[in-house]
């Protein structure tokens, strides 16, 4: 029995637990009554908890509890409450025109906040978290727009996409001049150098720029314009500026001429709600490149 080890501590007059650690002994002191009662109350409390909340795991489910509380239904309720809270502003956003959204500071803030989330959920995988773009995916921050940078242009591109099979979508593709035997390899090389020369980039020594210019006028000017300034109706990029959708090196340009280009942007009209499309439009416009 433990009692055999009991000894009384001389200083406090209290029994010890009988153990000794490096000369230290532990006194055996009773707990205060309130502590004991609190302990009993917590036991009783836990029984109440079992009754009102989902607690015991069963084979396929668990006990449900009389409160009917469930974390998942609680999330649904929270989301509903959030929708209610935002309802007024969302309605205002749905009713307002794009230009009036931009003119109203409060609505603009709300649209940009909504747009930020929608952009991260839907657009960021291709265009990057801040709309910085990537090779083949346009940078939405700059002032070079394939299909136009006005609010209405951006809205149409978001709603109907590009080359995504939507009737009102952006269409127009770069033909595969090489693969389809329209241009010969030496012509492709020459016109690639000519395209580089349009924005002041250096060309390969000894290249036939005159041939390049002729090939350009005969094949490219239809879409890219006689001076190479591009055409937003067709989504044909401006070749005279410092911005390149794919890359400015000759190899990449020749690849584009050889095989053509025609990147697809999905049409978001059926997938996102009207207020969200408006919010996205405003958000993209306010990256800094939006046109008046």
């Amino acid at each position: 029995m433990a009692d055999q080890n009991k000894e009384i501590d001389a200083l406090s007059g209290m029994p010890t637990t009988g153990h000794e650690w490096d000369g230290l002994r532990e006194l055996n002191i009773p707990l205060p009554r309130w502590w004991l009662w609190l302990f009993y109350i917590t036991i009783v409390w836990s029984i109440g908890y079992w009754i009102v909340y989902p607690t015991w795991p069963l084979l396929t489910n668990s006990t449900q509890g009389v409160f009917g509380y469930h974390t998942r239904s609680a999330v649904v309720e929270d989301l509903e409450a959030l929708k209610q809270q935002r309802g007024a502003m969302v309605e205002k956003l749905a009713a307002a025109s794009l230009s009036s959204i931009v003119a109203d500071p409060q609505l603009l803030d709300f649209a940009r906040a909504q747009g930020r989330v929608a952009f991260a959920d839907n657009c960021a995988p291709c265009h990057g978290a801040g709309g910085g773009g990537a090779k083949g995916y346009p940078n939405l921050n700059d002032d070079d727009w394939l299909w136009g940078g006005k609010l209405t242009d951006i809205e149409q591109t978001i709603r109907h996409g590009a080359r995504a099979g939507d009737d009102k979508g952006r269409s127009g593709t770069m033909p595969a001049f090489g693969r389809d035997n329209i241009l010969k390899p030496n012509e492709i090389s020459a016109v690639a150098d000519y395209a580089r020369s349009l924005s002041g980039l250096p060309v390969e020594p000894g290249t036939d720029l005159a041939l390049g210019k002729k090939v350009f006028a005969d094949n490219c000017a239809l879409c890219h314009g006689p001076q190479g300034k591009g055409n937003r109706e067709m989504g044909a990029p401006n070749l005279t500026d410092k911005i390149w959708l794919y890359a400015s090196d000759k190899q990449t340009i020749m690849q584009g001429i050889q095989n053509g280009r025609g990147a697809v942007m999905p049409a978001w009209g059926g997938r996102l709600s009207e207020p969200i499309i408006k919010a996205l439009t405003v958000y993209v416009h306010t990256f800094g490149g939006g046109e008046k």
Binding site: A2, D3, K6, D9, L11, S12, G13, M14, P15, T17, G23, L24, R25, E26, L27, N28, I29, P30, L31, P32, R33, W34, W35, L36, V102, P105, L108, D109, R112, G128, A129, G130, G131, G132, G133, N139, N141, D142, D143, D144, N238, D241, K242, I243, T286, F287, G288, G289
Partner: protein, 508 residues
Amino acid sequence: MTAQVRTMSIAQPTPGAPALAHLVAEAEVGGTSPDDDIPLYAPRRKIYPQSVHGTFRNIKWAVLVVTLAIYYLLPFVRWDRGPNAPSQAVLIDFSNRRFYFFFIEIWPQEVYYLTGLLILAAIILFLMNAVAGRIWCGYLCPQTVWTDLFFAIERLVEGDRREHMQRDARKWTAGTYARKGIKHFLWLIVAWWTGGAWVLYFADAPTLVKELATGEAPFVAYVWIGILTFTTYSLAGHMREQVCLYMCPWPRIQAALTDEYALNVTYRYDRGEPRCSVKKAEQLRARGEPAGDCVDCLQCVHVCPTGVDIRGGADLGCIQCGLCIDACDAIMSKLGRPTGLIAYDTDLNIKRRIEGKPVFYKFLRMRTVLYAAIIAVVGGVMLYTLATRDTEGITVIHDRNPMYVRLSDGAMRNGYTIRIVNKRLKYRDFIVTILGLPSTLVDFVGLPPRADGRQLVTVGPDQTKEVRIVVTDYSNTPPAPSTSILFRLIDIDTGETAEVRDHFFGPS
């Protein structure tokens, strides 16, 4: 094996040892345990503190009145801040995230003032302890103040110590029950008022009082009143000295903060021992034998709110309220003996008196000087920062992606989100300029320039405003990978400025 209840203690004499021994003695009397010789709990000895008059009692009354008056009435003090802010002198405005204290308004990001206050409070506690022991426990602690008030009510209704004890010991009559009912009712009124005053610090007090009276106050207000009514009633009415003995960490901490020069409520055993009656003392003294001044009247024990016998020496349960000094002084005066048998003194001095040396008080010690210096430094720093704090501010977040944007003509552009802070209680117009780039164009998204061409940002009273700005560098120099730039905020009316550094990035 049997379950055992254990508490650690080192095998060294501790100030708390006599109290522990006492508890065990009590426990052994009243406890029952099936298979161990230690009871499960220590029964409580009910304490009936006797009323007392004297210097320290008067000090305690004064502290009680002043602290409770501040607590109960402060929310009603008005402070005019103009139309854009509440007019309550002290207000913790959670919904708007502001703390108002007379002329000071604290924003959430300035919570370090609270840290400073907590540091000050801690060091002041240390200093008090180093100078004169448990001043906080004896006079200022809310537990002490409210328990004192509850004792006063108890004595008013149930009578002083002797009367109360006799009534409790006799068979309870209808009158006993009635007295106890009245006492608990009065306690609950005080407790309820305590909770009611608490919630007034978190909302406009007169409005909330009206709402509470008409049942229109927010549910959470009633909940908090309920919680504080319960805690006040149970802590001050029922748990009392047990809070100090079992719950509070401070008595343990301050045992480590005291030293041999700190004044404590001390029984001068050099003068008091051996205890004997007045008659016996005369006989002993007549025979030339030693006789102490203590007549063992137990008045010091009877008036003690925690049931401590101060003559046992320093004690964990002693909150050093000084009431035993008042009780003993009254007895000594009646006996025609000098007062101060129990007094604020040190053990060191008692030993010096026994040895025949003069008493020795030392307030200027390394400990007290350092504490005072820390208080002065922390207080000074807080005052300085409070007096010179800005009422406007600007923070800048550079776009994370893309870090920079090349425009079609080759110019570089960076995007930033700036937040302008206006801590004044009126609308203010600010100009934001960017310095450090040779030739820039700054576009404030959603903020068209005014008719005079100036780009102003208006920030509402006591608000912040977030603006997205895009900065374009049109200089034809090759862009550096990183250029340090300065955002300068200028109040156009007062010229007050705030600045923050950031970077303008280019291709690396």
